[in-house]
Point group: C2
Chain length 743, copies 2
Amino acid sequence: MFLAIVSCKDKVNTSRANEVVSGQGHPKLILTKQGVLDIKKALGTVPIFDASLSATKAEVDAEIEEGIDVPVPKDLSGGYTHERHKRNFLMLQKAGVLFQILDNDKYAIYVRDMLMAYAKLYPTLPVHPQTRSYARGKLFWQCLNDSNWLVYTAQAYDCVYEWLSEKDRNILENDLFIPFAKFISEGNPQFFNRVHNHSTWGNVAVGMLALVIDNDELLENALIGLKVDNLKAGMKDNDGGLIQVEGQKLGFYGNLDEPFSPDGYYNEGPYYQRYAMYPFLIFAQALQNVKPELKVLEYKDGVLLKAVNALINLTDANGNFFPLNDGQKGMSYYTDALVSAVDIAYYYGGKNPELLSIAKKQNKVVLDDTGLSVAMGVKAGLELPFQKKSINLSDGKNGDEGGVGVLRSHGLELVYKYASQGSSHGHYDKLSFSLYENGNEVIQDYGLSRFVNIEQKGGGNYLKENKTWAKQTIAHNTLSVNGQNHFKGKFEIGSKHHSELYFYNDEQPNVQIISATEDNAYPGTKMLRTFALVKDGDFEKPFVIDLLKVKSLTKNQYDLPYYYLGHIMKTNFEYNSFSQLKPLGKNNGYQHLWNEALGKPTEDYTVFSWKNNNLFYTLTTTSSKADQLILARIGANDPEYNLRKDPSFILRRKDVKNTTFASVIESHGSYSPVSELALNAYSHLSSLKIILDNEDYTAIELITKSNKSKVFILSNKDNSKDKNHNIKIGDKNYNWIGAYYYR
Amino acid sequence: MFLAIVSCKDKVNTSRANEVVSGQGHPKLILTKQGVLDIKKALGTVPIFDASLSATKAEVDAEIEEGIDVPVPKDLSGGYTHERHKRNFLMLQKAGVLFQILDNDKYAIYVRDMLMAYAKLYPTLPVHPQTRSYARGKLFWQCLNDSNWLVYTAQAYDCVYEWLSEKDRNILENDLFIPFAKFISEGNPQFFNRVHNHSTWGNVAVGMLALVIDNDELLENALIGLKVDNLKAGMKDNDGGLIQVEGQKLGFYGNLDEPFSPDGYYNEGPYYQRYAMYPFLIFAQALQNVKPELKVLEYKDGVLLKAVNALINLTDANGNFFPLNDGQKGMSYYTDALVSAVDIAYYYGGKNPELLSIAKKQNKVVLDDTGLSVAMGVKAGLELPFQKKSINLSDGKNGDEGGVGVLRSHGLELVYKYASQGSSHGHYDKLSFSLYENGNEVIQDYGLSRFVNIEQKGGGNYLKENKTWAKQTIAHNTLSVNGQNHFKGKFEIGSKHHSELYFYNDEQPNVQIISATEDNAYPGTKMLRTFALVKDGDFEKPFVIDLLKVKSLTKNQYDLPYYYLGHIMKTNFEYNSFSQLKPLGKNNGYQHLWNEALGKPTEDYTVFSWKNNNLFYTLTTTSSKADQLILARIGANDPEYNLRKDPSFILRRKDVKNTTFASVIESHGSYSPVSELALNAYSHLSSLKIILDNEDYTAIELITKSNKSKVFILSNKDNSKDKNHNIKIGDKNYNWIGAYYYR
């Protein structure tokens, strides 16, 4: 229903008078008075900006045509009232911007009328009827979404502030905005006074409003948290996450301090970082505009701008984020949050021309000063390709809680996770990895078990299989000991520990290497896992060395899965396929794996090859006759078909204390279903052997089919770059400097 | 090893003298003297031609650099000697063309030297050591590949014919070409004297050589087959196909007559048609050049050119052939055989500008008159988009043995197979269908079980699962009765029958419809299956009506599977997932299906929805409480991991004689993992009912969620377009003209 247009001339007059009072005037938050002038001047001359503007205009015009609907809240995400309120706040923000840029009152009227409808509804609302959340909102089932609403509508309000009558402003502030901000802060300290991406939204929502209405009390709450919250120690949210940790800094600064490492890695992983970045950056931009003296973008050595760089580096060749921890696959730097992040990072971060190439792919900019400067940069042809190189990002507030490394070479990307728990969205997968080629998954990380915003699948929320499967250790490409989870699958224990970097070295483009240890996942058992991405002229493409050395006080069963994607081509071992399928175990995620087939090594190295996306892959791994080779598939005990039925190849080694898994993963050749030619369909290796394995060194030898010997040696105890090593293996001497040898 | 360059001046002289003798001179087969002059004149001015030439030159130059290798035959396809000989004949043909166009002797020398090496090797060869084939070749494991070799090398020989000395020609003809041609014809009548795509290659190979060397006896054998073959009736090949049928026409004309319907559909399906087209067309082109009086392109009302059109129409939106019968997915009109087909069809078929748009996508032309004319057409910007519309293609020599229909609307493509057996590559799947959207499979046809030319998988040949799974009725989206195959899975029986078109009507773009009957697949049981693709303003996209009426003399178990691809979203019925998996049956393909879950309808219509490629789909089907709903997955009893582990939804109805399966398949909405918005994620239907079902009529009513009623009525006995029907259902009268009603 389209509300009647109300005459508002004298209101405009009133608002003009206000300009003088505020000193700075409005808009000031994201758009600025000067910025609007610049934009108006440039209109029609900067293609990406013009296109973004006209797309926004078309979208908002269509919405205005449809009329305003502010329904009584009822649904979970995916349901009508949820999606309607979400769409409303997005439209309000856009309409506000259009009003400023296009000087057309219809947008201001739309904003005012909708906000007034909210001001009428809001005071009547009880807490949301859906009870799933630990912090129920009023418009939405959780305060998180209410906070989203305020982050956007505060911008809309800023844009029409001066146009509104004082009377209307009073109504909006007293009946809607201030009670709204108080509800998500004082009314929900368990949500607001916390270090968590949800809380960031809450802090920023309150902070944005505070800047618009110049309210110091709200701003202080936003920046450093509520002084009094009366929260009990040990409280948890509905995802099992801890609410507060003793002595934490809170508020925006607290949320900025803790989850971001000095390298800009966000502890929950890139999927949530992408989500969290928007409020961080939009509030930083607002603070930069309204309170430049706070120098928020310089805070913690410029961590917010570093975070944008980290985030882009945590994408595959297609721009999709690596789905570490809870991450939904397919989320990418094409999301609006990253459009905004790239624009802000460009504008405030020294105009890095590589960012322009991302912006060009996004083909969209934010309608403000930052977007204008990006659009002008693209127009001027200033962009350079964004070079994603190998990178190692520390985790932890001080950068000393492990990290995430990405080794890159010729289209191959190996992602290694040796980070901290990752807050409530963390998975129990220390030292796990995934492998990509040309943006396609080769050895996958499962990601989360959730169909975000698809109502049919559990209301679009986390599915129970996220806990029973996706977070479990066996669901990842890392070691499971005795069928147990890392840290017994307990968040409290996991949160106390992190893996440790042993060393990272990308100085030699032909041997890039990352190595880390984990001593706490299984008390009494220590792991050292090392990945090298090696470019060697005797191989068609770079290959991966995966060396996992395990030391334990007790005899254990070790399971090391590889979640390959694709179709099995050939193995060098015999296996029996079962005529009936049973789950591989009873709990800890094993109950979700069908045990399809069981094999035994027939050689002292095991070869497993598959085809994916018309490329061939081979995993070669050292093995003993006592090993079991399990072909498994996800999907057992999945009564609602919530899981993907993807395959796994699991190496199982029983009744040993210390052991080393040494593997090589090759990508080779290709197949064309059009020419029907299979090129280079076989591994280059004719054997793989561990030739030395003691406390100090582990050495493997690869023999190629053209009978060349390649030796890789890892110094297990001394990670120094300068150390000179000299050892004898068999009758051959090896002499080198640094933590590893390859030749 | 690169052979030394031999001086050949006087040989050239000798050959020039020959020109006069032959009257026509060489080249004459595919390239012609005039064509070469035209090409030389145009060089450098027609981009696609120039690019194709330079790609060919680069490829052949690299091969010449590598040197010639003519190894003693040993391997199956995928193995070295197989792939080497294959590459050799491809290179010979290309080198011949380059010699003609570029006038550079190095190409002639390369052709001569390699051919001489073959002339030296060939007389020493026994039959190929691999014993898999019913017709073993000498260079390759089957005569088929030997024939491929000769089709290409005859062209090469034609190109260097005049350049060669008479002595060399004599050696080549007496030691290589003529014995070669005789071996694949007289030496293998079970291969040569047959109607089969293999035999076409055999016939054409002999015919091409005959035209080059002007040998009437060979030409006659090629055109009409061997007069004497001494083959026993009932002989079969190694794929189980019958060698000969009493009274068949043989040779090239026989192969042209029988497998092609008057509409140009080839009875084995498009995958083999694509393979078969090349010899048909290349030989037609050669006959057109050398024996234009035979008017081969006008044969059977121009069936060869119609066949090219049929073939292009049997591709999805990406140009991939529908994998009817034995078809490997991914084969497309980008294959070289189709480059040649499109060029020939353009040149000889009235220069249809729509073909130019396919040629432009192929971005490649054949290096002869036909390719030149295509390249010049593209350069002149003459192309029009190739409009793939709905099409119905008759099967059978006379077009009266059923057929294949494709209904198309707004990105949706429904492929309906009601054809004849399809020769030895046929599957037992009468009245089966598949569904595509935007070139992606939605409800798949499994295709073949083979990894063509991937040696690791059974030598690249047909796997045993092709028989035990891919050909079986239950592997298809059609009705299985009592767990049995159509025609008991017997080729002899299947070959005697075909389905019958009931009617096809694409005149109304909003209701396109195809209907066919099958009375012989299960004696005593008759099926009438009708598909309508309906575009209705009350639905977001076109939807499919699938009406399968079954009449039987006996009570049966009916299984109707839908091989959906994607992830299950929601059902309206309860089902129990099994905690252990067993195969669904013991034989007839059922042994390859895991029985994952079993459900029962809770309503009188069953709703099953899934997501694929970020689009939502819903199958709604009428059901009774006694029905079983089976969730199955391919992959049981698959000890070598030869099968894809794809899912199926199977409707099972037991202990009934007559029944009707009435279903609606909708595509609706979309999901974006970037915006995380799910749009229109639910079916538009609130119910589906059969409101009338008798001998004469079947009527269904769809009620939409906006409470609109849609009625579809099929006249079961009268397919006339003009018939006036007037019936009463409930208290409502329906009056219409023609075989169906929809409103």
